[in-house]
Symmetry: C2
Subunit: 381 residues, 2 copies
């Protein structure tokens, strides 16, 4: 086992109606002026936003709104949020939504405490402080509710970059599985793929055998598959929503990489090129396309973890058989597995490969030159 | 899935030589006067205590010592520690040792911040504050390094009681698996049993099926068994030490019960009666005796989790077969499974049953009257 540091101070309040605890939490933390960050679609339609606003008013917590976060959140919008947080003198940031909303909330939490340009924190500047974050999660997918990561897209430069900081772990994330019942099935599927991709990156790219972390990954993948299957049949199955939500949180809260040593996120880097150039592509949909092609290529170089995955998850003895089974499962939950299905044609491969190569370079990934990436994207057609 | 709150702010620094980071951690947290809490045997003999003292001196961190913690820590000794912490004006408590040392360090951390009698916190008084705890763990067993629990024995009343508080999660626990290499094989085995007991209590006593938490428990039990087997062959196998240490930490850090709903710790209550009356019995040794007998009795009332355990861990189809396989495994690692092996004869059964009944009552456990407990202890002869 490799050395590691594990630290995750986020408190998870999980269960039915727990969003009703938000105002009391903020009051106990003496946060009486907060910025509500949200997307706009489902949290408005479902009445969740209004319920939370009423709750805050009754408790005497003042708030300002910052809605309209996009599904691949962008720098300009986050900068506008920073201005609002500053001028309102917000004492906490309250994301209400999925991973994109959380990611932008983290950006605002950092920007509000610094006079540096916000993008600097996505290009290497050290984060020294952030406003506390108290959030309500409405989508099981990104894991952002229990980590310090934030991904943002700079539309001017078409870069999708990220930071990770100890200061941006949410203080509390409220996870009410019932709030995810209104998530459409395609986004439920994208979330499942995202969670699976999070744990497989480390499982497949680490350099040495790691029995306990490997079993944890397999446990999470099995859980995500089992619960997604149930939700495709019965979208309002509370227990399946609940287990999927917790599994997706565990998938990127630092537990699975503990002890595995160096590893990398090539699928995420490659997908960021896709959703950086095509912002309408949901991150999980892009991953469903990237992952099988990348796995076929990567398994030629490093077959051992693929053989184990195939055996333990699908009872199949060949690495390629396991990849095919995972890809087939993506199709059963109606996740796309080809570029054409996410509206990207072959003409985009050259710019995608170029962009992905620069992203891989900036992430410190070796062996991902433009030619390699072009071949990878061609395998996704 | 049941509602739950998960919160665990302890930072784990895991790996070779990481105890060398202690002084810098304390300095960064502005703790320049600390109380070192330890047992006395192995941390002195191994030179670890001296190395840490030298490190603190060089960094300008002043310390006082509180050695001699017993393996079932006692109230009187903890009270003496509180006096030392107060008179020295310690800013942090530094346990160096196993679970008993951590448990007493937590007692001192609480007592130093309150004028109430220390025992009051073990009998229901709410903990409002505690000194920060920065520890170095030398034994994989109790999980105390990553939770807020403390168990203490009041020798006057022969009560072994516990508290659990948000204020007593260690800030940082340093886990260097190499430091456990000097743990004798019998204590290695007791630690393994303790970790297994921690996860099985919830697995076996919860009221409803919980697929993901169940898999997490099975993963931990498999890991503890696999690594203990290796250590019985090769006591200085670093990777096995490392995986066992992390598995034992995960066994009681709040993850496995998340979502399982109400459950109880009957084996721990019953064992506390044993080591309360016979303080020379190691907690894990007592558990190895209690667990199989309790499982045989309890599985008659609630066979489902036993059937699952038998199938998934041992590939056996009967609940009783699974229990027998676990008991047989305890014997292969030379853990005792009968009262006689821990020096307790049948004459002690009446007082044990009486004491256990009062403990079970104080823990709110139903169905554990004196007659039932007497029959249980008789099954351990």
């Amino acid at each position: 086992m490799f050395d590691f540091t594990f630290y995750n101070p986020t408190e998870i309040r999980f269960g039915r109606d727990r969003e009703n605890e938000l105002a009391a939490l903020l009051k106990a933390a003496r946060c009486e002026r907060v910025l509500l960050v949200y997307g706009g679609g489902s949290v408005v339609r479902s009445g969740l936003l209004e319920r939370i606003q009423r709750q805050l008013k009754e408790a005497g917590v003042a708030f300002q709104e910052h809605g309209g976060v996009r599904s691949n959140p962008v720098l300009d919008h986050a900068e506008a949020g920073v201005q609002k947080a500053r001028s309102f003198q917000a004492q906490a940031i309250v994301p209400i939504g999925g991973g994109s909303v959380y990611d932008e909330a983290k950006a605002i939490a950092v920007g509000a405490k610094s006079s540096a340009p916000l993008w600097a924190f996505y290009t290497g500047r050290t984060i020294e402080a952030a406003l506390p974050i108290y959030g309500v999660l409405t989508l099981a997918a990104s894991g952002s509710e229990m980590n310090g990561n934030s991904v943002l897209t700079n539309e001017k430069t078409r870069q999708k970059y990220s930071f990770s900081s100890r200061h941006t772990y949410p203080r509390v994330s409220i996870l009410n599985p019932a709030l995810t019942a209104t998530v459409p099935l395609d986004y439920t599927a994208y979330g499942a793929v995202d969670a699976i991709a999070h744990v497989l990156e480390g499982y497949l790219t680490k350099s040495a055998h790691a029995p306990l972390p490997d079993e944890m990954v397999e446990m999470i993948v099995r859980s995500v598959m089992r619960t997604s299957d149930r939700l495709m049949e019965q979208p309002d199955d509370y227990d399946a929503r609940a287990e999927l939500m917790w599994a997706a949180t565990l998938a990127l809260n630092g537990l699975t990489p503990a002890g595995i040593g160096p590893y990398s996120f090539p699928n995420h880097a490659i997908e960021h090129a896709i959703s950086g150039l095509f912002p309408d592509v949901a991150h999980g949909a892009g991953l469903a396309v990237v992952l099988p092609a990348w796995m076929r290529w990567h398994s030629q170089k490093n077959p051992d973890p693929y053989r184990q995955l195939a055996q333990r998850l699908f009872g199949i003895d060949s690495p390629q058989g396991g990849i095919a089974a995972l890809e087939a499962w993506f199709r059963t939950i109606k996740a796309p597995t080809r570029l054409g299905e996410i509206g990207i044609d072959a003409a985009a491969i050259a710019p995608l490969a170029q962009h992905a190569a620069s992203l891989c370079e900036s992430w410190g990934l070796e062996g991902y030159d433009e030619a390699t990436l072009r071949a990878l994207f061609e395998a996704m057609v």
